[in-house]
């Protein structure tokens, strides 16, 4: 295997453009899935039976079926009902759904881990159910859920590579195209790997930083 540094420099601009798209998708997806995840968790814990079971069903569906199936569903199925996204937003919606499903489980686990006496205390102080959820449970659960949440968000970022199948021009798609245009494999794959490690590594650093700040 010979190694061509000049070629790596030559493809670098293309790769960085694709990398930027991957970063955009990842950031939007992470923000949406955490927000939706928090709302669904609140609805699951505070809502009635129908809300609860429909959310449990949703979570089982996101956890049980592969991301490729979710992406296909958004891409092929929603247009049948007249809901049309472009490829970028299809990807964002599909990945956000997956991320939201997983984060509901993570938040629920973290909230379960906060002891019951906390809720009793909140009740004794006269807080309403929503208030005790927002002011007592959530801040504590937030700290507990940070490590598994980081893991899950890293998974969501890695799942952006699957959007290449619906022709989003993200990192993996561009790398694959470059392989087939130039028939150079090793250099492209090494660059691809390093760029993904950069995104996920940044996320891990951010989470370490937040975790260190949140320690009481």
């Amino acid at each position: 295997m010979s190694f061509d540094l000049a070629f790596m420099l030559q493809i670098f601009p293309d790769m960085v453009r694709a990398f930027w798209l991957s970063v955009q998708i990842s950031v939007i997806t992470v923000v949406i899935s955490v927000c939706v995840g928090i709302m669904l968790t609140a609805a699951r814990l505070l809502g009635g039976n129908i809300t609860r079971y429909s959310i449990i069903g949703f979570v089982e569906f996101t956890r049980g079926a592969p991301p490729l199936v979710h992406i296909s569903i958004i891409y092929f199925l929603l247009p049948e009902f007249g809901i049309v996204f472009n490829e970028f937003w299809t990807g964002v919606v599909a990945l956000s759904l997956i991320g939201a499903g997983y984060s509901v489980e993570i938040f629920r686990g973290a909230i379960d881990a906060v002891s019951f006496s906390q809720l009793d205390g909140a009740k004794a102080l006269g807080l309403s159910r929503l208030q005790s959820f927002r002011l007592v449970l959530l801040p504590q659960a937030y700290r507990l859920s940070l490590p598994p949440l980081t893991n899950e968000l890293a998974n969501v970022i890695k799942a952006t590579s699957l959007l290449s199948v619906i022709s989003v021009n993200e990192l993996t798609k561009v790398a694959n195209d470059l392989i087939f245009v130039h028939f150079v494999v090793v250099e492209v794959i090494i660059q691809l790997t390093v760029l993904y490690l950069v995104i996920v590594g940044l996320l891990m650093l951010l989470s370490k930083h937040l975790e260190a700040r949140l320690k009481f």
């Binding site: 569906f61 049980g64 199936v69 092929f76 799942a159 952006t160």
Partner: protein
């Protein structure tokens, strides 16, 4: 929704499901054979060079998407002179991926065993290896089961990505039917149901195993007392 169509297409979907099952079970088995010993080596820091290598390996596996790993296996193995069928390339990629996670699972489980267990074993005169085999590992194994079930379901779902290197597993089979019948709804529904069924089956199996082994360990403890 056209359920009759789904039933008609089952003979084309089920071989895909069979392949998915084979891919994930073989991949998981190889990954366990590699991951658990390396996890043990990593936990006890047996060799610093090996530990560094394992850490780096885990970082790469956890930091890159499965799709990239599959492409790497698909394009790089032939360059290294190893020519395999897409099925076996898939197995290589899946076990490469899963081994990284299983190393972490093993390490976390062994590290969660209390120090008192080691002290008790040593004070009874057991050697280091004997302590690992008959005291620490059985308890760690029980704690490894839930994350291992998680990993198994991730592996099943990752096997769907092998469709990009023309392995004819469930997702690819369903896509083939979609592209000649244009019945998206039915096929997406059918494959989602099959995937969820397989995942739930494996999760339930792990719960059963956990209960069984758990009671067995407790009974043993009880009778020894």
């Amino acid at each position: 929704m056209d359920f009759i169509f789904i039933m008609e297409q089952m003979p084309r979907l089920l071989p895909g499901l069979m392949l998915t099952i084979q891919l994930s079970l073989i991949g998981f088995l190889i990954a366990t054979i590699l991951g658990v010993p390396f996890g043990i080596i990593r936990t006890y820091q047996i060799s610093p060079y090996l530990s560094f290598f394992i850490d780096f390996y885990v970082f790469v596996v956890r930091g890159t998407p499965i799709l990239v790993q599959i492409y790497a296996a698909y394009f790089l193995l032939p360059l290294a002179g190893i020519k395999l069928s897409p099925f076996w390339i898939g197995i290589v990629a899946l076990s490469f991926n899963s081994a990284g996670y299983q190393i972490e699972i093993t390490r976390a489980a062994i590290q969660s065993i209390e120090k008192g267990q080691y002290e008790g074993a040593f004070s009874l005169g057991l050697g280091k290896i004997r302590t690992l085999i008959s005291i620490v590992f059985p308890q760690a194994f029980l704690r490894m089961l839930p994350p291992m079930a998680n990993e198994m379901s991730n592996l099943i779902k990752a096997s769907s990505v092998l469709s990009v290197i023309t392995v004819f597993e469930l997702h690819k089979a369903a896509n083939a039917i979609i592209s000649d019948s244009f019945k998206f709804l039915e096929m997406l529904f059918a494959q989602a149901v099959l995937y969820v069924a397989f995942v739930v089956l494996m999760t339930q199996f792990s719960i059963y195993l956990e209960k069984r082994i758990g009671t067995k360990l407790q009974i043993k403890n009880f009778s020894q007392r």
